[in-house]
């Protein structure tokens, strides 16, 4: 009887390890691979307005929208995203390397099309260990603190008519994404 319990417990232990690994580590691994792939194709800490091939790398399709991506690494400074958004519906999302949404804002919430978002590493150990993100307004935009070094900024813009694409992508490319010494 005790032998049977021993094997049953062993099976349960393996099941728990596999379950935890799949839920907690696989999404993180996949996100890190996407960030690495984006960095290899677009460059790290650089905003790229995605053509169809670039967008598809990250699982987006461009039929109805324009996308811009900025894979970032804030291990050596803070990320400064200077946004000059097109006059259209847009949404900006910052993902951490865990795959979580660190920060998100859209055209209605922002109220303006020109602003700045800075992304810093969380300063204190407690925040790094317990929280994925802290955020708050600063002078002309928002400041985000995250526990992760790497992440991805995704900007989505609706394109109501196909002829608008060129102008909207041109507008999107005016934004910049760079690392500044903290």
């Amino acid at each position: 009887m005790s032998r049977l319990l021993y094997w049953a417990f062993s099976i349960l232990l393996v099941a728990v390890v596999v379950h935890t690994a799949m839920v907690l580590f696989l999404p993180r691994k996949e996100m890190q691979e996407r960030i690495a792939l984006a960095a290899a194709n677009m460059g790290m800490n650089k905003l790229t307005v995605g053509g169809p091939d670039v967008s598809r790398i990250l699982g987006y399709h461009e039929g109805d929208a324009a996308y811009a991506f900025c894979p970032f690494d804030i291990s050596k400074g803070k990320l400064v995203f200077d946004a000059l958004m097109p006059a259209a519906l847009w949404s900006l999302t910052i993902y951490s390397s865990r795959g979580n949404n660190v920060y998100t804002v859209n055209s209605r919430q922002a109220g303006v099309d020109n602003f700045q978002i800075s992304v810093r590493k969380a300063a204190d150990l407690l925040t790094q260990l317990t929280a994925d993100v802290e955020s708050g307004p600063i002078n002309d935009g928002w400041q985000v603190r995250t526990s992760e070094d790497r992440g991805l900024v995704v900007v989505w813009t609706a394109i109501a008519e196909p002829f608008q694409r060129v102008a909207i992508e041109k507008d999107l490319s005016r934004s910049t994404c760079s690392i500044v010494a903290d």
Binding site: S10, A15, V16, A21, V23, D64, D132, A158
Partner: protein
């Protein structure tokens, strides 16, 4: 049975149980809309199962609460959607600032095929605000979505800034004909 064989068996059975339990937990997080075959997975940073679901589908989690995402791979009778069949969607879209309905491969990243999506900017609405959409491999008048040529089809509905409260389920999907 030798001890090595037992250990291998334990690892295999345990791994299978772990894998199946993840699938079950992720499926259980999917919220089925009342009277509809549409489902939605809420994205909450504290819920790793929903995040795992989106990665499993080949996409980044939509940025809640800005975006709502509804998924459906079955018609109103519960049969799996097929790319060579004709379907009719009728009803009201969940109210929001913008929406996009697309036909995509189940479990793979998005398709870029022309006509495989419809968005609120270009949709033709009925006088009462409802919408009729044909999903068909051949052209249809008014709102038409041509599914990509795949076996494992699903419809995805993204809604930007969906109004909170009693939101109607997306239009039901009726199978009209199959070859």
């Amino acid at each position: 049975m030798g001890p090595v064989l037992r250990i291998i068996l334990v690892v295999m059975v345990g791994a299978l149980a772990g894998f199946v339990s993840v699938q079950k937990f992720v499926e259980a997080r999917g919220h089925a809309l009342a009277g509809s075959t549409w489902r939605t997975w809420q994205v909450d940073s504290s819920d790793p199962y929903s995040v795992a679901h989106y990665f499993d589908e080949g996409m980044l989690p939509p940025d809640a609460p800005q975006w709502s995402l509804y998924e459906n791979s079955k018609d109103s009778s519960g049969q799996s959607l097929e790319a060579d069949c004709v379907y009719a969607l009728a009803g009201k879209m969940p109210p929001g600032r913008w929406w996009r309905l697309s036909a995509e491969s189940n479990g793979a990243s998005a398709s870029a095929a022309h006509h495989s999506w419809l968005q609120s900017d270009s949709a033709v609405l009925e006088a009462d605000g409802s919408i009729r959409i044909a999903v068909s491999p051949s052209p249809r008048p008014a709102n038409w979505i041509m599914p990509p040529d795949i076996n494992d089809l699903k419809l995805l509905l993204f809604v930007l800034e969906e109004q909170k409260g009693a939101v109607p389920a997306p239009p039901q999907i009726d199978r009209i004909s199959c070859p």
